[in-house]
Assembly symmetry: D2
Homo-oligomer: 139 residues x 4
């Protein structure tokens, strides 16, 4: 069983350090979570969470969920091919969490949905996307 230090991915990349989100690939349901404590650093000109940061969290949770379909590390690389986001409700400062869920696909392409919720469970944004496994010869 992997330890917490193996299943909580923090500060791994430049983008992740910049935004400060945590990627959790250790849930037994094989759905990755991406968490962020929203602060004023993440707000747009309307005083609510910037849509681009919502999309970062949704995309990261979905991509890691795709990885979990291959093995438990959550680190097998998948590329985002296409992503559709619906901005359901504005998010304010506080903790939020995106969760991925595979809805279909085959060997090279996966369809992965994701939901972003606040601590009360209110849906803030939803996404569906197409993810492609990076061929090993390209690594």
């Amino acid at each position: 069983m992997p330890s917490a230090s193996e299943t909580l991915i923090t500060g791994e990349t430049g983008a992740q350090q910049l935004m400060g989100y945590v990627l959790d690939v250790g849930h037994p349901d094989q759905r990755a979570r991406c968490r962020l404590e929203v602060t004023r650093d993440h707000l747009n000109r309307h005083g609510v969470l910037h849509g681009g940061i919502s999309s970062c969290l949704l995309d990261s949770a979905a991509g890691a969920t795709a990885s979990l379909s291959v093995d438990a590390t959550g680190r097998v690389p998948f590329l985002s091919v296409s992503l559709n986001i619906n901005y359901v409700a504005p998010a304010r400062p506080g903790p939020i969490e995106a969760t991925g869920m595979i809805t279909g696909g085959g060997r090279s392409l996966l369809f992965v949905a994701a939901e972003l919720r606040d601590r009360d469970g209110t849906v803030l944004a939803t996404s569906t996307g197409v993810y492609k496994r990076v061929p090993e010869t390209r690594l």
Copy 2:
């Protein structure tokens, strides 16, 4: 005619300061540009631009282009309702620019497309989105 300090929007919000992009609303074609110098701070685990940051730039350029349909300040607030992104090619460190273009709509909803290109003009990502003018009573 507005001066450069009025048409170049920099560091206006927390999210913009964090990511470091510049929003340019001063083009006579009324299409806003959103520019970023991609550094290692913006890369994902594959060493290329994080898709969430691409979507920030596309969304910001599209939203400001929606604003320019109302007046030349580029600051009339519009909310992102829905955004669809296609990740066409990976982006590497260097300057990139997203440009918005209105494709249709009416009084309250606008359809805005955007393209993200590198300095060679290669298309990195494209988006189409639905933007809603924020009712004045909600400001």
Copy 3:
């Protein structure tokens, strides 16, 4: 309680007669269903269900589900603003059914997801869309 003749909408419009689907707005869960018996009239050049017909069913189920949020007739008009479809698996001749589900929204705009499944429950396609209530002054 409405009778079956009120909750099963058949052949109401030209498009519906052409394709032959049935719209069922009588479920207590307020999720409209759109059913079709796929025949060779609905196939594309690959011998599977044409993606455009999948999108008809998803869009019709989602639009009628939006209507059911207003009243039980399922006939209050909503327009499709934007629709995103993921083609998860090919559909072959036989009965299929799309079901809508509201995921968020407010007074004028609703976000509605839909799933298309075959008789075995296999997901064939999923969609998310933005639906707008037609203002009464426009009727």
Copy 4:
């Protein structure tokens, strides 16, 4: 140079016969066109073109444009993976035409945009989609 009978595809499939559209793969710009004479058979309950039929035309034009990237027959099979449609303006009876345009991609996946216009050139709907070449072993 192919003759008109080779570049105009009519009634090839059940779905095409049902809806009555014509697929034109003979333009030197390698962008396929999909044309329909909208009649009352194609209208929805609001008296305008059913969104599902718009999506058929957009998807067919985009898929055939993907085929034209391989050879001039326009018949090399591609599957729709994901399709995003924006319904820009209502369409009324009369001739309409969808045109595809490749925006990027590689050997197996292509990004293809499409626009649906009426005879006056008014944009009725736009789409972007991901298309996948059907592996020959699957034919």
